[in-house]
Symmetry: C2
DNA sequence: CTGCACCTTCCCACAATGGGAAGGTCAACG
DNA sequence: CGTTGACCTTCCCATTGTGGGAAGGTGCAG
């Protein structure tokens, strides 16, 4: 089948299929006499695997690893799980960060009248002068290199 | 003060300060005779505003809008709140998506032995043939083609 | 004067995707 | 048979926001 059909059946755009091929994520597809790429059910299944893995937020690098493991009949499930766990930890950390942001935004939105007046706690908060931070002046005793 | 000091005090890297200037997010800094950019407390405060806004996940476009509102003494807080609410909704939607991913990953990780054996529900799930999805296939746009 | 930490501009890269141009191919329809 | 239009191909560009680094100028301590 042609690439657009493979795209439709796998849920991966034709553009992306070509891209995945170009970076070596998937093998180069067979070509027909006219130069068109030709796909079979095996290839479509692989593309579906890639799409599902991407849907779970794995990077293309991770997809590559998972594809290799998938194809390797002598893999250890330990390795697969390790990859998944690492990614899960990453996702959860990002969720935590975003929840903190969400809480802050909710608080700010709540505090703001949202009417014609210019007074706005949201802007006040964003502009908050770091009096809180007690920034006692990063000294500059001559050539002090910045830390961190 | 020099750009590196402004960077240190604002928490925005020198690289980013120049970039923000180049895209017109912030005004071009004054220059000293030697061509060096020169920053004062006002500029640092603006950079801090930008950093805080970025920390809350606003895009640079949104930062630009918020900066304009911040500077405009005749703004309506309604507009600010609308922006914040829109962003909040966006964040919350993304959190929901990621939580769904997290739940799926947790389930998969849980189901996987993670030992030397190759059997792995994680890979099985990623490879799952859409028998479950009962996707009866979206019909073609028109001109049915259904190659081979 | 030397050395070094600054500063400047400019270009490259990243991740993953889409848009679109220029040109070849295939099949249906009149 | 020729036109038409939906395909296909490759190639380049844009995105978002950030960092790396080169090449060259400046300022100051020793």
């Amino acid at each position: 089948m042609n690439i657009s059909m493979a795209a439709e059946q796998s849920g991966v755009s034709a553009k992306m299929i070509r891209y995945y091929e170009s970076i070596g994520l998937i093998e180069a597809a067979d070509r027909r006499d006219n130069g068109y790429r030709d796909y079979g059910d095996t290839e479509v299944a692989m593309l579906q695997f890639v799409r599902r893995t991407r849907d779970l937020g794995f990077s293309l690098d991770e997809v590559a690893s998972l594809l290799t493991l998938w194809r390797n009949r002598r893999r250890s499930s330990r390795e697969v799980r390790r990859l998944a766990e690492k990614h899960l930890a990453d996702i959860d950390a990002r969720i935590a960060d975003m929840r903190a942001v969400s809480r802050t935004l909710k608080r700010l939105v709540h505090a703001c009248h949202g009417d014609d007046r210019p007074e706005c706690p949201i802007l006040d908060d964003l502009a908050a002068t770091p009096a809180t931070t007690t920034t006692k002046h990063t000294r500059q005793p001559r050539r002090t290199r910045k830390a961190k």
